[in-house]
C-alpha cells in the first residue's frame, strides 16, 4: 500500500515532472539573462528557494573590487558593516549562481522524490549548491573550489588527478557478481556494441569544434560510467595538457571535468527516462516477449579465475585502462577469493562510501557558475544525451543482429542489449521492466546483468584506447 500520496507516480509522470522542472529552469534562466527586471521568474520555481532568491534580489547588489577591499578597513562601525556586506553572498550573487543553485535543488528533488540514483545525485546536488554560494573571489578567503588552499580544492585534487575513480571501481568490483556474464559469455558482445555510442559522440564533438582530447572525454559520457568519465576527463580535458599535433598544436585543453561529470551522472540517473522510448522504437512486441533460458550455475573456481584473466587480457590490450580495470578486477578478486571477505567488505562499504561522498560533493562544487555556465557545457549536455541514445540503440540493434545467428531458446531478448550501456544496475532494471510490460512472466534481470557489467568493462577498454591515441595528441 502506498502510504505517501506523493510517491505513486508512473515513469511517465516522472518524466513529465522532470521535463517540466528543466523547462522551468531554462525558461527562468532565459528570462534572467534577458534582463534584471525579470528576476521574479526565479522566485516561482521551487518552494524552498523562493525565500532565498526573494531575499537575494531585495539586497543591493554592489560589485566590489577585491584589490581595493583591504584599503577600506575604516574607522566607523557603519563602514565596518558595509565592508562585511561586501563579503556576503548577497553582494556577490549573479544570475549564474542562482541558476546553478536551482539546478542543485532539482538534483536533490529528483533524488529524493523519484529515487534516481540518490547516492550520486544528493552529493552532487548539494555540491552544486555549495559550489555556487557566491563569495568574493580573489580575496583570499579560501572558500571556492578553484582557490588554492581551500578545503574543497584539496578534496577536489582526487578528481583532477583521477584518483577517486579507480577507488570507486575497486568498490564496484568488490560488490559486483559477474556470474551472469561468466555463465553466458556471448552476452559480453552486447556490452561491446553499446560502446559504439562513445565513438560516434567523439566524432560529433570533433565536428562541433572540440579539440580531439576534449572530444574523447566527451564521448565517454556515452559509456554511462561516472567514474570512467571523470577519469578520462581528468586525463584529457583537465585544463592543463598542451596539445602538440594538428590544428590545435600549442593550445591548452579546456577543463571540462565538471560538465562531463555532471552530464554523465545526470544521464545515468535519467536512464529510466531516456532508454525505454528508444528500446520500444527499435523492437517489436514479439521480440520483447522472448524468454531466455536460465543461466547455468557458476563454480567458485570460475569466479576466481574471471577477474585474474580479465585483468591480464584487457590490460594487455589497453594498458591505459589499467587504473580502472586493474582496480575493478582487484576488487572482484577480493570478493571471490573467499579468503579476503573482510577486505572486500571494507572496499565495498567504508571506502567506496567515503570516496562517493567526496567525489560527488566536489564534482558538484566544480560547477561554480563563473566557470561552468558556458556554451561548451551546454553542448556537452546535448552531446551526452545523443551519446546515451546512440549507445542504447546500438546495444538493442546488435542483439537483433546476434539473433540472426542464434537458434531456438538461445535467442536473445533484444531489450537486454540496452543494458550494455552499463549505468549499473539501472539499465538492467529498465530491461526487466520493459520485458515485463510485454510479458509479465518474463524475467530478464539476471540476463541483463551480463551486458550491464560487460558494459563497464567495455567502456573502460574504450577509455584506454582513447587515452593511448589522445594523451600524446
Amino acid at each position: 500500500m502506498n502510504k505517501n500520496p506523493l510517491k505513486n507516480s508512473s515513469p511517465v509522470r516522472k518524466a513529465l515532472t522532470m521535463l517540466f522542472l528543466i523547462v522551468i529552469v531554462l525558461f527562468g534562466s532565459a528570462f534572467i539573462v534577458g534582463g534584471e527586471e525579470d528576476k521574479t521568474a526565479v522566485q516561482t520555481e521551487q518552494l524552498v528557494t523562493a525565500d532565498t532568491s526573494g531575499t537575494t534580489v531585495a539586497e543591493d547588489v554592489t560589485t566590489v573590487d577585491p584589490q581595493t577591499a583591504e584599503e577600506e578597513v575604516t574607522p566607523s562601525a557603519w563602514d565596518g558593516v558595509k565592508q562585511f556586506l561586501k563579503y556576503t553572498g548577497f553582494a556577490n550573487c549573479t544570475r549564474g549562481h542562482l541558476i546553478m543553485i536551482v539546478v542543485g535543488l532539482i538534483f536533490i528533488f529528483l533524488a529524493i522524490r523519484f529515487e534516481f540514483e540518490p547516492m550520486l545525485l544528493i552529493p552532487i546536488g548539494i555540491g552544486i549548491i555549495i559550489g555556487n554560494i557566491p563569495f568574493m573571489e580573489g580575496a583570499g578567503l579560501k572558500v571556492g573550489i578553484y582557490e588554492q588552499g581551500s578545503v574543497l580544492n584539496y578534496l577536489y585534487f582526487g578528481v583532477t588527478q583521477g584518483i577517486y575513480p579507480p577507488l570507486i571501481f575497486l568498490g564496484i568490483g568488490a560488490m559486483t557478481d559477474f556470474s551472469s556474464l561468466i555463465s553466458n559469455p556471448k552476452l559480453m558482445l552486447l556490452g561491446a556494441a553499446a560502446q559504439v555510442g562513445i565513438f560516434i559522440t567523439f566524432w560529433s564533438a570533433l565536428m562541433l569544434g572540440f579539440a580531439p582530447p576534449e572530444a574523447g572525454a566527451i564521448g565517454i559520457i556515452g559509456g554511462a560510467d561516472g567514474p570512467t568519465a571523470i577519469f578520462m576527463s581528468s586525463m584529457l580535458a583537465n585544463g592543463k595538457n598542451v596539445m602538440q599535433t594538428g590544428a590545435f598544436a600549442g593550445q591548452t585543453v579546456d577543463n571540462l571535468i565538471g560538465p562531463i561529470a555532471i552530464a554523465a551522472y545526470s544521464y545515468m540517473a535519467l536512464v529510466p527516462v531516456i532508454q525505454p522510448p528508444v528500446m520500444r522504437l527499435l523492437t517489436t512486441k514479439k521480440e520483447r516477449m522472448i524468454h531466455m533460458k536460465p543461466p547455468r550455475t557458476v563454480s567458485k573456481i570460475e569466479k576466481i579465475c574471471f577477474p585474474i584473466i580479465g585483468l591480464i587480457m584487457t590490460c594487455f590490450i589497453a594498458p591505459s585502462a589499467l587504473p580502472l580495470l586493474g582496480m575493478l578486477f582487484f576488487g572482484n578478486l577480493l570478493r571471490e577469493s573467499g579468503v579476503t571477505k573482510r577486505l572486500a567488505n571494507t572496499a565495498s562499504n567504508a571506502l567506496i562510501d567515503i570516496v562517493t561522498i567526496i567525489l560527488g560533493l566536489t564534482v558538484g562544487a566544480s560547477t561554480q557558475a563563473t566557470v561552468f555556465l558556458t556554451d561548451k557545457s551546454i553542448m556537452i549536455f546535448v552531446l551526452g544525451a545523443l551519446s546515451f541514445i546512440i549507445a542504447t540503440a546500438c546495444g538493442v540493434l546488435f542483439a537483433k543482429i546476434m539473433n540472426l545467428f542464434l537458434k531456438g531458446d538461445n535467442k536473445i531478448n533484444p531489450l537486454i542489449g540496452a543494458a550494455g550501456v552499463s549505468a549499473v544496475p539501472d539499465s538492467a532494471r529498465v530491461a526487466q521492466i520493459e520485458g515485463q510490460k510485454a510479458d509479465p512472466s518474463n524475467f530478464l534481470l539476471m540476463h541483463a546483468m551480463a551486458p550491464n557489467v560487460a558494459g563497464v568493462i567495455g567502456s573502460a577498454v574504450a577509455a584506454g584506447i582513447m587515452l593511448s591515441f589522445l594523451l600524446t595528441f
Binding site: 500500500m1 502506498n2 502510504k3 505517501n4 506523493l6 510517491k7 549573479t94 544570475r95 549564474g96 529515487e115 561468466i182 559469455p185 556471448k186 559480453m188 558482445l189 561491446a192 556494441a193 560502446q195 559504439v196 562513445i198 565513438f199 560516434i200 567523439f202 566524432w203 570533433l206 565536428m207 569544434g209 580531439p212 574523447g216 536460465p294 547455468r296 550455475t297 563454480s299 579465475c305 584473466i309 580479465g310 587480457m313 590490450i317 589497453a318 557558475a369 561552468f372 555556465l373 558556458t374 556554451d375 551546454i378 553542448m379 532494471r429 526487466q432 521492466i433 509479465p440 512472466s441 524475467f443 534481470l445 568493462i457 567495455g458 577498454v461 574504450a462 584506447i465 582513447m466 591515441f469
Partner: protein, 124 residues
Amino acid sequence: MNNIIIAITWDWGAFDSFALTVGVVGVLVVFFALLFLSIIYRIVPKLINFKFKRRAKKNNVAMPAEEEILVPGEVNAAIGAAIYLYLNDLHDVENPVLTVDNREVRRQSPWSDKHQFLNQNVKR
C-alpha cells in the same frame, strides 16, 4: 557567464583521417577484446571441468555435473514474482510524518553518543 548564445558550428572538416582511425580502431578493438574474453570464458570452464573430472576419476569420487544444475522454470517464476513484488514495493516509501529510526543504535560517538542514546529513549 553572460548572455549565452550557443554558436553551433558543425564542421565536417574536423572529421579527418585521425578521427576516423580513432573511431574505427576503437570500436574494433573494444569489440574484439570482449569477443576474445568471451571466448576465453567459454573455454576456461571446460578446462576446469576436465581437470576436475580427471581428478575425480582418479579418486573415484562422483563429481556433480555442474552444467546441468539449471534452475527449473517454476523456480524462475517464483523468483520472478519475488522481484515483481520487490519492484512494486520499492515505491512504498515511508510516511512523511515523523519516523523513528530505531535501527541506528550506535553505542559510542565522540560527538553525540549520549545525545543519540537519550534521543532514542525520548522518541520511543
